[in-house]
Amino acid sequence: MSGHIATGGCQCGAVRYRITGPLFDAHICHCRMCQKASGNMFAALVGLKKSDITWLHGEPAVFRSSSIVSRGFCGKCGTPLTFAYDHTVHMNVSIGSLDRPVDVQPEVQFGIEGRLPAFGTLHTLPGSRTEDDVPPGDMAKLRSLQHPGGE
């Protein structure tokens, strides 16, 4: 997970970043703060040094979710991008905002007190592919407006 350059950004592409140092402490967090901030069952975050991130295009809007934490997001499309405590030299980016989230496998789950019981059985739910759920002929209408990733 370390030793290479990672890039990422928001869904619309208004905010893009490059990370030139190692990524570490990949985790998911179930705490209610992370759930609410990310509209999800958990947040997926990976650590880096604050000095290792460069904003290539735009910069995140920031919400202070508590007296000690800032959360960054794209003001144009909302993608949750960063999480940072004030008092450390480290920060986190959301793993899903990386251009290659498949490179970053979580190692621990934090905020276990907020874990939803349904999380433990998600893997047992039946699955389908996007093209299985879209009526024939409609896939072509799903023209993506998502930034393609890469610099």
Binding site: R32, K36, S38, S65, C77, P106, F110
Partner: protein, 154 residues
């Protein structure tokens, strides 16, 4: 559970719906991953006819030609996804005041599902306090909207 409120982290956008929730699933597609900054997006379907915004209004981004995604412009929380012409709105489950009330029924968009997703429940667990000495000492003030409707905010 019938009828519920929810909203974003800062409380600038709040919603309420009446009646029963429809189908709930986790979507793993790359569009949902990027929009939520996550491995997937848990969404629950609610009829628009039973749904209303009770405080503020979301910002919107059209992530593909027929689909709009809503979020809070002040704190970024992803709130919903909606396809043109669909009589339902797909709410982000984490924004519900009681996300535990949702019964997930399936996984969709599995073509982009990360290989380790199914193993995540077995990752070593830590509570927030074990992980965060600052939080353990109660030295921080949350600025998150509570999980119930409020007369005034902030």
């Amino acid at each position: 559970m019938s009828g519920q409120s929810g909203g974003c982290q800062c409380g600038g956008v709040r919603y309420h719906f009446t009646g029963a929730m429809g189908r709930a699933s986790v979507c793993h597609c790359r569009m949902c991953q990027k929009a939520f900054g996550n491995f997937g997006a848990p969404l629950v379907s609610v009829p628009l006819s039973a749904f209303s915004w009770t405080r503020g209004r979301p910002g919107m981004f059209r992530s593909s030609a027929p689909v709009a995604r809503g979020f809070c412009r002040d704190c970024g929380t992803p709130l919903f996804m909606q396809e043109d012409g669909d009589p339902n709105i797909e709410l982000a489950i984490g924004t519900l005041d009681d996300p535990n009330s949702v019964s997930l029924e399936g996984q969709v968009g599995v073509e982009s599902k990360v290989s380790w997703f199914d193993g995540m429940p077995n990752l070593p667990p830590e509570t927030t306090n074990e992980n965060n000495p600052t939080a353990a000492k109660g030295r921080y003030l949350t600025l998150q909207h509570p999980d119930h409707d409020t007369d005034r905010w902030p």
